[in-house]
Symmetry: C2
Subunit: 284 residues, 2 copies
C-alpha cells in the first residue's frame, strides 16, 4: 500500500502574485506517494475511487442536482493532455464524461466571442467535463502569435475570471491544470513520434516552428496563470516531464475535487414499498 | 482461449420482411464463445482489440479521413443500454468516443424536425459515437403514446431510412442494436432497483405504467425494425436477458464493424528524416 500523501492541491497550487515557471522543475514529483511503480498503483486505486464517486455525482445530476466538475488541461505540445484523458478520465464510466477538444476555431466560431464555443461545452450537471485545450488558447497562442490586439488580450483575462466565477456559481467545480514540460523533454517526445510509425500522424512540422517561440509561450502561461488564478478557481502547475507523476497528480487533483463535493446517491422520492407492491401484484 | 465464433452479425441480423420478437428468446445466447466466464473473458479480449483499432480510426480522422462508427442502442427500460456503454465503450480511449443520451425532447428540440437534434450528435470523423436511445424514439414512444399522427409516424420511417443512407454515404458505419429483454426479466430488474438503495434513483413510478403498454411497445419495435432494416443499415436483435451475453454480443458487433473498416495509422505526409535533422540541429 502506498504511503498517505498530503493534499496535492496545496503543493501544486500556483502562487498568488508573480509566477516563474523557470523556478518549477518539470522533473520534480512533489508529494508523490512513492516511486514510479507505487505511484502507478496509487493512480489505479484513485481511479477506482473516482469511478464510484462519479456514479454518485451522476445520480445527483440525473435527479435535479446542478453540481459538476470541469477539468481544464493546458500545456505545450506533447505535454500529455491526451495521456491524462486516457489514464485519468478512462477510469470512469464514459457516460459520466464530456470531453471537448478545442482546435483552431472554425469560421463560425470566429464570428462569435471567444467564450461562445466554450459555454456550449460546459458539462451538464452530474458530469465530469474535460477540456483538452480551452478558452486559455485565446490568451496563449492568441498572445504569442498576436491573433488579437494587446487591449483585447488584456480584456480577455478579466472576461475569463468573470466567466469562471459564473460557472462556479452555477455548480461547476473547475480544476485548471498547466502541464509543465521542459523544452528538452518536448524534443525527446517529438523525436519519439518521428521514430515510431504508429505515432508519426501526431507530428506536424509546425510543432518545431512553435518551439522557436518557447520562451514567449512560457511567459504567456505565466501571465495567464497570474491573471486568472483566483481563490475560487486556482491554477495548478503540474510538473509533467515524468508521465507517471503527471497522471497521478492530475488524477489526484480531480479526485480531491470530487471528494470535497461528497456526492451521495439520492434517496427515493416515491414510496418504495408501495411501488414494490405494484410490481409484484401486476397482472401479467 | 475461447473457441472461435462465427460472425455474430449473421446470427443476430433482423430478418428481412416480417419480424416477430416473440419468436426470439431473450435468454438465448447464439454463437456465444462459451459459458458466462468464457464469454466475459472474450469480451475483455475483444475490448482490447477494439481499443487498438479505435486508435487507428482516430488517427485517420485526425488526418483528413471521414470514416466513423455509430452504435445505436434501443431497448425497453432496464434492457441495459447503460451497461453496454460502461462495459463495451468503456474499453476504448474516451477521447475516441462521442456518447449522446437522448431524453424527452426539450422545447427547443420540439420546434425542429425530429432529426434535428440527431444530426447535431452524429460523431465526427475518427470517432465511435454511441446513441443511448435515438431518433427511433420518435417512432416507438411516438407511436405507442400517439405523440404524432399515424401519417407523421409513417413518414418518419422513410425519413429515417433516407437519413441513415446519407450518413452511410458520408462515411458513417451504423450498428443498430435492439436490446431484447423479456417482460419478466424487466420486472426482476425493476425490483432489484427498488431493493438497492444505491439504485433507487434509477427507478421511476412511470416505469410501471409503461409496462402496461408492453405489447404495444413490442409491436412498435417490430414495425420499426421491419421498416428501417436495410442492406446498408441493418438492425440486430440482441437477446438481452443475460447481461454477459448482451455485452459480449454488442461489443462483438461493434468490433466486427471496425475490423471491416481496417483502419491504418496514416503514413507521414512530411519528410521524417528532414524533420528529425531539424530537431537535432535546433539551436538551444
Amino acid at each position: 500500500m502506498a504511503k498517505k500523501t498530503v493534499s496535492v492541491r496545496e503543493v501544486l497550487r500556483a502562487p498568488s502574485g508573480a509566477v516563474s515557471l523557470a523556478d518549477i522543475d518539470p522533473r520534480d514529483t512533489p508529494s508523490a506517494p512513492g516511486d514510479k511503480d507505487a505511484t502507478k498503483a496509487q493512480l489505479a486505486a484513485d481511479g477506482a475511487e473516482l469511478a464510484v464517486l462519479q456514479e454518485k455525482l451522476y445520480a445527483e445530476g440525473a435527479t435535479g442536482g446542478t453540481r459538476r466538475v470541469l477539468l481544464v488541461l493546458q500545456g505545450m505540445d506533447t505535454s500529455g493532455k491526451g495521456g491524462v484523458i486516457e489514464h485519468v478520465a478512462g477510469s470512469v464510466n464514459p457516460q459520466g464524461l464530456a470531453i471537448t477538444s478545442f482546435k483552431k476555431p472554425t469560421p463560425e466560431e470566429l464570428r462569435h466571442g471567444f467564450l461562445w464555443r466554450v459555454r456550449r461545452a460546459v458539462p451538464a450537471p452530474g458530469l465530469i467535463g474535460v477540456f483538452d485545450r480551452s478558452h486559455y488558447e485565446d490568451v496563449l497562442i492568441g498572445r504569442v502569435r498576436e491573433l488579437a490586439t494587446p487591449a483585447v488580450i488584456e480584456r480577455r483575462y478579466r472576461e475569463i475570471v468573470r466567466f469562471e466565477d459564473q460557472l462556479a456559481e452555477s455548480g461547476v467545480t473547475i480544476v485548471k491544470c498547466m502541464l509543465h514540460v521542459s523544452k528538452w523533454e518536448q524534443k525527446q517526445r517529438l523525436l519519439a513520434r518521428l521514430d515510431d510509425s504508429t505515432k508519426r500522424w501526431k507530428f506536424n512540422p509546425g510543432d518545431i516552428d512553435e518551439r522557436a517561440l518557447w520562451d514567449q509561450y512560457q511567459r504567456a502561461y505565466e501571465i495567464a496563470v497570474e491573471r486568472t488564478s483566483t481563490q475560487t478557481n486556482p491554477w495548478y502547475v503540474v510538473p509533467s516531464d515524468r508521465k507517471w507523476y503527471r497522471n497521478w497528480a492530475i488524477g489526484r487533483l480531480l479526485l480531491e475535487a470530487v471528494q470535497d463535493l461528497d456526492p451521495r446517491f439520492p434517496p427515493a422520492d416515491y414510496d418504495v414499498a408501495a411501488q414494490r407492491d405494484r410490481l409484484i401484484d401486476e397482472a401479467d
